[in-house]
Symmetry: C3
Subunit: 353 residues, 3 copies
Amino acid sequence: MTAYVRNTWYVAAWSHELETAKPFAVSILDEPIALYRSESGRLVALEDRCVHRLAPLSLGRCEGERLRCMYHGLLYDPDGKVSQIPGQDLVPKQARVRSYPIADRHDWVWVWMGDPALADEALIPPAVGLSDPDYILGHGHLDYAAEARLINDNLLDFSHLSYVHATSFGAGPEFAESLPKLEALERGVRFSRWMVDTYGQSTRKAPVPIDSYMTYDFLIPGVLLMWSGHYPSGTAAKLDYAPPRLEDAEGGVTFTNQAVTPLGPKASRYFFSWGPRRGHGDEALRDQLMELAAVAFGEDKTMIEAQQKVIDRTPEPRIMPTAHDKGVTIFTRLVERMAKAERESLTAPEKVA
Amino acid sequence: MTAYVRNTWYVAAWSHELETAKPFAVSILDEPIALYRSESGRLVALEDRCVHRLAPLSLGRCEGERLRCMYHGLLYDPDGKVSQIPGQDLVPKQARVRSYPIADRHDWVWVWMGDPALADEALIPPAVGLSDPDYILGHGHLDYAAEARLINDNLLDFSHLSYVHATSFGAGPEFAESLPKLEALERGVRFSRWMVDTYGQSTRKAPVPIDSYMTYDFLIPGVLLMWSGHYPSGTAAKLDYAPPRLEDAEGGVTFTNQAVTPLGPKASRYFFSWGPRRGHGDEALRDQLMELAAVAFGEDKTMIEAQQKVIDRTPEPRIMPTAHDKGVTIFTRLVERMAKAERESLTAPEKVA
Amino acid sequence: MTAYVRNTWYVAAWSHELETAKPFAVSILDEPIALYRSESGRLVALEDRCVHRLAPLSLGRCEGERLRCMYHGLLYDPDGKVSQIPGQDLVPKQARVRSYPIADRHDWVWVWMGDPALADEALIPPAVGLSDPDYILGHGHLDYAAEARLINDNLLDFSHLSYVHATSFGAGPEFAESLPKLEALERGVRFSRWMVDTYGQSTRKAPVPIDSYMTYDFLIPGVLLMWSGHYPSGTAAKLDYAPPRLEDAEGGVTFTNQAVTPLGPKASRYFFSWGPRRGHGDEALRDQLMELAAVAFGEDKTMIEAQQKVIDRTPEPRIMPTAHDKGVTIFTRLVERMAKAERESLTAPEKVA
């Protein structure tokens, strides 16, 4: 597998997908994980592999705070320790599976794949949750037969909007013909772009020319947080093309959260939500955006899965970056640097218990 | 593939699956085999691979005692020798495929995978055939996407009944909480268990407390032969927990035959029959048991195929045996010992023609 | 993959499959190729892999004579050079994909897989096109999960007609019992056979005994061109079994074109057309032959895909040629000789730009 950062929070599921006492199977960085919300409401993430004969714990049964393997009945504590082996008095010390730090935040369930001692909830990206009162968000997810890196690359270069989504999003040639503004962040890249004096950058056309602004952060491990909005024509020039305040937008403010999770070497899950800011649209607009997303994100999936197949049959795949790849390059180098540092660190996951 | 014993009889099919003059394809230990019942009724098992261009003989045509490859017409004798090559007068000596010893016994077709010189029908396990007048048996088979060893392990440890089949078989916690009696046999393991003063070990509850007894032999290569029955409360104590006579059971006697055949590295066929002893139940009970088997054996299949998938994605899979694994361990060591002896023997299959 | 000749024309598609300005994906010798017919009608074959990030060009958009990758908009000339990269002024010299010689002939689209400098349209086999006024042809194609070589072998040995197609084509035992006449050609093998004084070699029986003649060339890389017809009983003897003139046939003349294209290591496309010579049958006969072909070519597919599966599971597959394999052997050696010469030649594809 491509190198991915481990000391980071990955989106494992929508929060509402984890019903009380119903184990949920997921795979992150090719590690099988059993998630459950205990009867008291505690979230638990365990290695999905019983120590006895490797049956998946996600086929198990929640009992209070614990999870019982339903093959031969071994009972697991939330920290991964086996607390009971039927037919046997002693439980050996080594009878334990890995337990992952887990958090429920912004209506997503996040799992920390690296050194548990370093798990810091402050590193969870500031996504806008489905339940945020300021927004009216729809949501969904798509499974890709492609590695996460390819989806990240896609989200790090919006020039594809002019081609892949020419009709669905009604994206004009501007996304390809000119470059966005880029800023390297500590854990990602910030993109922004003023589009001046147009009728808007989507199929929803404005009645008069406007200045529209969009900006997104793309953050480790693969989380996109974007807002966009309209301003009166002339605003961009007046601000000397600096970022505007979201609060000053005269309309059309929407927010989208997107997260790419590497399930395995060539399998990924893509989570997304999108919708208008309250006051800038209603449930009908949200539904309209979701219909659009279904089409457009399907277009990405078609292209990226086809790209993966070409890569797979290419003996030594090489790419030829273009001017639009600056964001991809910054992010890719950041990932490589962080992944390398993790491997070299004494606290790298393989060196801690 | 895991080591399996070769000098043994594997169940290849139900006897009634082999209709006269209709070739039947099967695979045992990853070797493709064409079975047929000749026009005179003789059973034949040939390597399913024509010497000419490797077309499968199981797509061929029976002609009297022989089998003709229907690609270019080579005709095979029951011993595997080619007796005719269309368009050619001479048949080269080396034109022959392997022929396997085969037997029709207890309504199963058995194939000997090892040295033909050692094939001894006395080694066929004493199964109860579908046509046995003393029993009323239903039957079926299931194909597993899992290696045979995992199914054997399952059948060698009935503690899983308390979990996998808690609701279907209505198995109580006793199977997991206490250990059965075990006895090593020359070619397998014998299990037995008294359950004293209960209302029975299944969804079919007895009206008064009873002593119930069950025993099964699990024999090389993977054949389970089990009977169980009820005795008046107090019988177990009276017998000092020794095995009772089947004939003394006051009711509830059933018999089940099960056979696990490794088709290939991760593919197996599981044959089963089950039903009451005549006088202990009727066709209605047999049908009820078959419905139960459909549910319960489906539960095993779900668990074992999931277990196989976890094993497949685990770099160096290790198990941690429990007290209930004693039977698994005895059997596994027996298999390893026999397989090793075969490899070392001068009469090992690869050293005989 | 088996060695195949590269300096030769492969059938890539039916001519009518390439609609104007609609890219068409195909794979030959495991190389992904994007075909298109430009707006002016020019045929183009490009490596189906964008230099930027390896997206398939076959998902692209035709623009005049050019093809635009619809991921990030790189625009390709028909010779494979990138002529535009959106958002960037300079196009690097190395920004180009392979372009293949391509020809539209006999209603097939042919692609030259070897050294472009050697591409010679005179080497395109003299097939009879669907639009040939002398014939009334039906057509189709089948995809095989088998390597092309196995289909070639099948077409190079018609003794299989007596078995595989015994009922469909109504082929008698003659095809297997006696050998056809063979002649090595510069780029293939010629087969011919008189069948004397029979009621015909198919389910369409003649009213009186006839002499029937059939002949086909099987040409590099895998193109079969065959005609057959009836002559008055005694013709063969009168001609001393020499080839008759097609024009002298008293009836039953049909022509079939067949082409086998290796898509990848175990995937092939089999193109076929068949029908009567004008004056020897009508559209109804053509349709009847197509129904027959659907059955018979399905029989071949079943056998050959099964053969491929047996080969795949055989550690060191070996064949044992028979008298009927003479044509297979001549053709196979020709392929090996040509492929070897190509590899050794300075003009071999890997040594030319």
